[in-house]
Amino acid sequence: MGIELLVVALLVFMLIAALVAVETSDLLSAVISIGAAGFALSAIDLLVGAPDLAITQLVFEVIALVLLLCVVLTRRDTSVTQPRDALRTGVALLACGVVLVIVFFAVGGTDGRGALPPFGDPVLNHGPGAVVSPGVSAEYLARGARETGAANAVMAVLLDYRAYDTLGEATIIFVSILGAYAILRRVGRRAAARKEEAAP
């Protein structure tokens, strides 16, 4: 129960930080608030038994913060504020309320029988022969150490059972960094030289 209370507190902190980040008129404050939300997420990961995720999230957070600060620090945009529109705010709040009510009933609602397993009782808990199959995770936990020799079950899944997924992930990273470089790079030397020849 203690961990659940802590998770709820951190989630409320994340919600406030995200709201500030979205609604503030100063872009620098927005970037710093989103950083605070990310560090809270890292703390939640640590609480629910995911230390690998907590470390990765921390690294992600620092790099994303640096990248976003690069954008906002030197560029002062004065056109951030937009006029308040009561109708628009009302429609947005109404839509959010409807979605949250649907989520409430989907995850358990009043009688505790939703489409999702209740919090703290994943499908992994159901033994063989149960209505819900325990899934492949139980096998990973039971046989991972013997089959792969890795003490860390997450790394056994990531680097052994699903290594092709990780290869695809590395490809995506490579392509996105290549894309960022292609967008950011200056005009190539050859093109500049040609321009000089054309207009001496």
Binding site: G49, L68, V107, A145, I177, I183
Partner: protein, 118 residues
């Protein structure tokens, strides 16, 4: 308590979607995408949580049967680890586009950028 956690996670997702849909500033849209990223990753990790469960790392001398009975689900964690790193790549790409937009138009306002296209 469990339902509260799930509903709060979806509220976070909604804040991100609201920012992406309603905001006119490019930096605000990037922030919204980041919030969506956080919410979805967090939801997947929470679905795999087991009450009183520890990290899925086998301690020295721990019997495997006890480990399989108490550790949290490793599969969503592995997938979310992939997702976080991909999120970093996406962020870098979006930041690069934002810098280019600023160099061409001297503003982050989507309305202005649309108008200037001519």
């Amino acid at each position: 308590m469990g339902i509260t956690i799930y509903v709060l996670t979806f509220a976070l997702l909604l804040i991100g979607i609201y920012a992406v849909v309603a905001k006119k500033n490019v930096v605000k849209i990037i922030v919204g995408v980041l919030v969506i990223d956080y919410a979805v990753n967090l939801f997947l990790v929470l679905v795999g949580y087991r009450t009183g469960g520890g990290a899925p790392i086998l301690a020295e001398g721990q019997p495997v049967t006890e480990f399989a009975r108490t550790a949290v689900d490793p599969l969503p964690q592995a997938m979310v680890l992939t997702s976080i790193v991909i999120g970093l790549g996406i962020t870098a790409l979006m930041v690069a586009m934002a810098i280019r937009l600023w160099e061409n138009y001297r503003t982050f306002d989507m309305n202005e950028i649309r108008r200037l296209r001519g």
